[in-house]
């Protein structure tokens, strides 16, 4: 206790000296933000302020390590995983997902494709990943890999097309699901995401039925979600949309979630992949 007080006195003296001897330097100071703008403009400023230093970076780094590390019952890495552009090709792969895969005879989004790779290459049990819950068990690893893979497409144009008959069917059924109303609040995705200029509270609602809006939605997810302090994959984004829609829970990587993703991604074609984003 005594020493603490002594420290205080000495430090105080030091501080005075230090202040005298060092020349005051003119560091560029940022002007105080002008008050009184429209709330939505102020929210824009807020978003700009946090844009640099997206904690999704931390997940990307972890995901890259997981991608490269031999793991699972077969003790192999994911480096031979084919995300649609050939085994091991990560750069740009996310711009083309979801897409039809011949080996599984299914349209797959990034997450269902990673489950395939973790199952076939590494020997994990798909069911375990599907039932794990978000941020839990092997799913947590998968989510980090998503951050890594998505970041490898950052800045590139979204290029998802419905060419294969199964892709066309997924798009159509995704659209039908997008407009499907149900539950005690009569909501569908379209209740909030089918017209322009709408918002809930102060959150803008992109019109996902049009290219511009779809690019704003699809192009900024997955994202680090500020309110939960967690990286959210697209599957998790959709899961929470359905929760807010008061629907029952969509099963992880179920046909519906992939179809709705297909609908959004095809609509977003030509937009820029800006994910991993940073969201409220």
């Amino acid at each position: 206790m005594k020493t603490r007080i002594l420290y205080g006195v000495i430090i105080g003296l030091f501080a005075v000296l230090q202040g005298c001897s060092s020349s005051a330097k003119n560091e560029a100071s940022t002007a105080a933000a002008p008050a009184g703008g429209a709330p939505t403009d102020e929210i824009e400023k807020y978003r700009a302020m946090i844009a640099d230093g997206n904690p999704a970076d931390l997940y990307e780094a972890a995901g890259e390590d997981i991608w490269k590390k031999p793991m699972g019952p077969k003790n192999v890495s994911l480096q031979k995983c084919d995300l649609g552009m050939g085994p091991g090709v990560v750069k740009g792969a996310y711009t083309q997902l979801p897409k039809y895969f011949k080996d599984t005879n299914q349209v797959q989004d990034l997450e269902s494709r990673l489950v395939t790779c973790m199952t076939k290459l590494q020997g994990y049990d798909a069911n375990e990943i599907i039932k794990a819950g978000f941020s839990k068990g092997k799913r947590k690893d998968l989510e980090a890999v998503v951050a890594y893979v998505v970041a490898e497409s950052k800045g590139m144009p979204i290029n998802v097309v419905a060419k294969h008959p199964k892709e066309k069917q997924a798009y159509q059924m995704g659209k039908e699901s997008f407009f499907y109303q149900g539950g005690p609040m009569d909501f569908s995705c379209a209740s909030c995401h089918a017209s322009n200029g709408k918002r809930i509270r102060l959150q803008d609602l992109p019109n996902l039925t049009e290219q511009k809006g779809a690019a704003l939605g699809w192009g900024y997810w997955p994202a680090y979600r500020v309110s939960s302090g967690t990286f959210w994959t697209m599957q998790r984004r959709l899961n929470d949309c359905y929760r807010q829609q008061r629907f029952p829970e969509p099963i992880y990587i179920s046909e519906d979630t992939i179809a709705v993703s297909m609908y959004m991604a095809v609509n977003a074609k030509g937009g820029t992949m800006n994910a991993p984003g940073l969201k409220r």
Partner: protein
């Protein structure tokens, strides 16, 4: 008799036929969801209004006007007027209900008190800057429309079952689906229609 039996058999076959001929979409929906908490799979079953409004051409006033009329009438018939005859409760409590968007999700406890989530879509008291715009502004609601019996009853009905007026209204049917109880709806009414409510200042 024989005839009747064959008709019955035919009906049974037809029913069986429709069941096995589930469309790929129906199959997708039934295989993609699981019950969680209070959100059971029955929430995917649609009533007439939900079915009608799942077709994009029927949104924004499109689609067959007769079907539209019919469903609206059916919804109008479900509305109950307040049991104690009072339309206006406490606006202060109404403001709290309007602020809260909680309730009815799989993560909400069954039986817990729901919010109205009104600010999600409406401007109400202009002091709250965080409001949505899916619905119209309700600022000065009573002051602008007056406090007549017609206005009061219309507002009550609209909160209870918005689809009585517009089948594809985006507003939840708060009374119809018991999202809010009678007292809560009276309180929200007061927020909009009590001359003492800050909304009408």
């Amino acid at each position: 008799m024989k005839n009747k039996l064959s008709i019955l058999a035919f009906t049974l076959l037809a029913v069986a036929g429709t069941v096995s001929a589930a469309t790929p979409f129906e199959k997708m929906m039934s295989s993609s969801f699981q019950a969680k908490g209070q959100a059971g799979l029955d929430r995917l079953d649609q009533d007439a209004a939900q079915k009608f409004c799942s077709n994009p051409v029927n949104l924004d006033g499109g689609g067959d006007p007769k079907t539209r009329e019919k469903i609206q009438k059916e919804n109008m018939a479900t509305i109950k007027q307040p049991s104690d005859g009072k339309y206006l409760g406490d606006w202060k409590s109404g403001e709290k209900i309007a602020q809260s968007g909680r309730g009815a999700t799989w993560s909400d406890k069954a039986g817990s008190v729901n919010g109205g989530g009104c600010y999600n879509c409406h401007q109400i008291n202009i002091k709250e800057v965080s409001y949505g715009n899916i619905g119209p502004s309700l600022w000065n609601y009573g002051k602008l429309r007056g406090y007549s019996k017609e206005v009061v009853e219309y507002t009550w009905n609209r909160i209870n079952n918005s689809k009585a007026y517009n089948v594809c209204s985006n507003m939840p049917r708060f009374g119809h689906f018991k999202l809010l109880n009678e007292k809560q709806m009276q309180d929200v009414m007061a927020l909009l229609l009590d001359p003492e409510s800050p909304v009408n200042k």
